[in-house]
């Protein structure tokens, strides 16, 4: 056990922040979706790391697999939405999709 837990956590935090930045900063809806994927994977790293250094129960791994399933489902729905929006509005730029404006 040469690598301590904190390294994984730092990696995970960094990855999460990159994803968050992508979500907030990118204009393209596909890129925003990519950011979300990064954030989810950061969580996965956290879960697996805590499992490895934890009490030895399998919970962490199970949760990671559940997150995979959620992530893939989310991507499928998200991409479908984006395609649908593109067909109607001919754009995938998030700032242009402001129908909710008061």
């Amino acid at each position: 056990m040469s690598i301590p837990l904190s390294w994984y956590l730092i990696l995970s935090a960094a990855l999460f922040c990159i994803g968050l930045f992508g979500v907030l900063a990118r204009k393209n809806a596909v890129a925003i979706l990519l950011g979300i994927e990064l954030m989810l994977n950061a969580v996965n790293i956290n879960l697996v790391a805590f499992w490895r250094y934890g009490t030895g129960e399998i919970t962490g791994q199970v949760f990671a697999i559940i997150v995979f399933a959620v992530a893939s489902a989310e991507v499928a729905v998200g991409l479908a939405l984006i395609i649908s929006v593109y067909r109607r509005r001919s754009t995938v730029i998030a700032d242009d999709l402001d129908l909710m404006k008061w």
Partner: protein, 718 residues
């Protein structure tokens, strides 16, 4: 089954029958009357069993059948209720059971069982008759069945329950309960044909008048309970309690407690047994169907009144030393004797066959009350029993006559003929032989026809008692009343049965169904035979052939067995003279009278019953109406109570309006409006800033909130 448990069960069958009929068998007439008669027969059987066992006990007055259970906790002890059969209640049970059973059977025929449904009969009105077509195509009008047939039997059942309860009770409270049940039933049954205004009024009158007596009776019961702490007959009528009550004085008229309680209880009897001045309800009660008249006026209710004072006899006579009557006894003797002669004079001038009997009932009850008043205990019971038999017989007989007449009325179709008016009758002895002979027996028993009939022996005993204790006023009054009794009875028999038919309806009158004549025959047997058990031992020639069982048996109820009277020829001669004289004169006067105009005795004063109804109307009814209308309703209710409430309402309204105007509208509503309007304006101001419609902007906003919350959490709570 022990005798005691049999006694407990005696009142129950009629009550069960009442509920069964009301709840289940109401629609089915056969089932309803079978249930009712079955129940009456069961009670009769129970009553006879108890009676037979009672007469086999040698000193029954000392070894009575009694049993009681704890009922109501009072303080540390229990108020007990139970049953008691001593000689008095045994003999009462005997005649009550017989008469009730006979009346139940009779009702089947009287309410036209088996006849077709009426053409336009309505519930609440007497049946009007039905038209049927025979095989030759002729149309006939025949009597139709009573529309509320089942209801009638249900009510009779409840009535019987009340009477049995009263008879077997061992305390004043349950006795009073039975007493009141009968009061209710008399109201319901007198008003049975409630479609008639006269029936409704009669029902209310009967209920209200007896209520006057009942209130005083309840007062007496309360006084008795507060004075002795018990209502059980056996405890009250024990020597210790009686002497304590007799020596306790009360502030009213200088009466002893015993005397005052006796007087209060006696007022209950005055109401129930229709003694003057509360007699007015009984004649009007003839509005009910005839079996009801027999039930109320012979078998049960009025007898209950006399039964009550006979039951309380030791209390009434507690301070009686044997020399001179006490105040209470004088009052009772006076009211009884006065009622006897007073009602007898009215009966002379009545033309309605049932009303004559009604007044004769009042008069005969007066005989019994008077004999209690003069201390003639056994004589009072004797007359109570014989009277119940012959008066039930007479009422049922008169019902049979009316029924026969109604048949004639329907046959001729002349509805102007009143089937109850004796002047429309005449010559019915040939048309209705069984009714005639039984009615004759009943009438002769009522008149006191010598030696043969029961009425002679009981009435003679009352007169003999009054004579031998030198109560001259009572003796003379009762003798005159007895003469009048024989006179009006013979008038009734002559007008109804003898001579020639005076109307076409009377010509077509017909003997009634066997369900009606059978009870007449049975009661006629008792109207003759029951007198023989009480023939004085010293009576010339026939005395002692049959031992004076009644005196031995009933006298045993009292602590000191009353002595048999020494024989005296004068009262005997008196009763012979008045009975035979009255009968003969009645026949001589009325044998040729053919219409009411020829009747010389139709004095206005008597015809109008001494104007008692009018006097009471003026003295009590009108003022009561005035009080209710003008004082209670218009003044108290409308002016004071309503006025007060309206003021309160108006005040509340004013306060409410003020609150609304000066508090609710400006303050509460203003604040609410302010909040609403404020939020609206803030929203309007913030909306363009916050709600931009950009997803990432929202995300940033929620991220910053999350960061702020995390920071606050970190620095404060963690």
């Amino acid at each position: 089954m022990t005798t005691e448990s049999t006694i407990w069960l005696i009142p129950l069958p009629p009550l069960l029958a009442f509920f069964l009929i009301i709840l289940f068998t109401n629609k089915n007439k056969v089932l309803s009357h079978s249930v009712a008669i079955g129940a009456a027969a069961l009670s009769w059987l129970g009553g006879m069993l108890v009676f037979i066992r009672a007469i086999q006990v040698e000193h029954f007055g000392k070894e009575v059948f009694a049993s009681s259970v704890n009922w109501l906790p009072v303080g540390d002890s229990w108020f007990k209720i139970g049953v008691l059969v001593d000689p008095l209640s045994a003999i009462t049970l005997f005649f009550v059971a017989w008469t009730i059973l006979m009346i139940f059977i009779y009702s089947v025929g009287y309410q036209n069982f088996g006849k077709p449904k009426g053409d336009h009969d309505q519930a609440g009105l007497p049946p009007h008759g039905a038209t049927i077509t025979d095989e030759h195509g002729h149309k006939h009008t025949v009597p139709s069945i009573e529309p509320m047939y089942s209801r009638f039997f249900a009510l009779l059942g409840l009535f019987a329950f009340g009477m049995y309860t009263l008879v077997v009770s061992d305390n004043l409270l349950t006795m009073f309960v039975g007493w009141e049940i009968m009061g209710l039933c008399s109201y319901l049954l007198i008003g049975f044909w409630y479609g008639k205004k006269s029936a409704r009024n009669a029902a209310i009158k009967a209920f209200m008048t007896t209520r006057v007596g009942d209130v005083f009776m309840l007062l007496g019961i309360s006084f008795l309970y507060s004075a002795t702490g018990t209502l059980s007959f056996r405890e009250i009528l024990s020597a210790d309690v009686l002497s304590a009550l007799a020596s306790a004085s009360t502030p009213i008229f200088g009466l002893s407690a015993a005397g005052l309680i006796g007087l209060l209880l006696f007022i209950g009897t005055v109401g129930k047994s229709a003694q003057w001045p509360l007699h007015v309800w009984l004649p009007d009660a003839m509005e009910g169907p005839t079996p009801v008249s027999a039930m109320i006026h012979a078998a049960t209710m009025v007898s209950a009144g006399v039964y009550a004072i006979i039951r309380m006899f030791p209390l009434i006579t507690a301070d009686f030393t044997g020399h001179g009557l006490t105040t209470t006894m004088s009052v009772i003797a006076f009211i009884g004797a006065f009622t006897a002669i007073f009602a007898a004079t009215i009966a002379v001038a009545q033309n309605d066959i049932k009303r004559v009997l009604a007044y004769s009932t009042i008069s005969q009850l007066g005989f019994m009350v008077a004999s209690v008043g003069i201390g003639a205990y056994v004589a009072a019971i004797f007359h109570l029993v014989t009277h119940a038999f012959f008066k039930a017989l007479l009422f049922l007989g008169s019902g049979s006559v009316i029924h026969g007449m109604e048949h004639g009325v329907l046959h001729t179709g002349d509805h102007s003929v009143d089937p109850q008016d004796m002047f429309n009758m005449g010559g019915l002895r040939k048309k209705m032989p069984i009714t005639f002979w039984t009615f004759l027996i009943g009438g002769f028993a009522l008149s006191g026809f010598p030696l043969l009939t029961a009425g002679f022996w009981s009435k003679d005993e009352i007169l003999a008692d009054a004579f031998s204790h030198s109560h001259w006023a009572v003796f003379i009054t009762l003798a005159v009343a007895a003469f009048l009794t024989a006179f009006y009875t013979m008038r009734q028999i002559t007008l109804t049965f003898l001579g020639k038919p005076r109307t076409k309806s009377a010509e077509h009158a017909q003997e009634t169904h066997w369900t009606m004549t059978l009870p007449l025959v049975v009661l006629a047997i008792f109207a003759i035979g029951f007198g023989w058990v009480g023939i004085p031992e010293e009576f010339p020639f026939i005395g002692g052939i049959i031992p004076n069982w009644l005196h031995e048996f009933v006298g045993g109820t009292l602590a000191h067995h009353p002595e048999a009277l020494p024989f005296n020829i004068w009262p005997l001669l008196t009763s012979l003279t008045v009975a035979l004289g009255g009968l003969v004169i009645g026949w001589l006067v009325y044998r040729n009278v053919t219409s009411a105009e020829e009747d010389k005795l139709q004095f206005k004063l008597l015809k109008n019953k001494y104007y008692f109804d009018e006097i009471y109307d003026f003295l009590f009814v009108k003022p009561a109406y005035w009080f209710a209308e003008t004082f209670a309703y218009k003044f108290i209710d409308q002016t004071i109570i309503d006025g007060f409430l309206n003021r309160i309402g108006g005040f509340a309204m004013a306060v409410g309006t003020a609150f609304r105007k000066y508090f609710d509208a400006p303050v509460v509503n203003g604040f609410g409006d302010l909040v609403g309007e404020g939020s609206k304006r803030i929203g309007k101001f913030l909306a363009p800033v916050i709600q931009r419609g950009r997803v990432q902007y929202y995300m940033l906003a929620s991220l910053s909130v999350a960061v702020i919350v995390a920071v606050i959490y970190y620095f404060t709570l963690a």
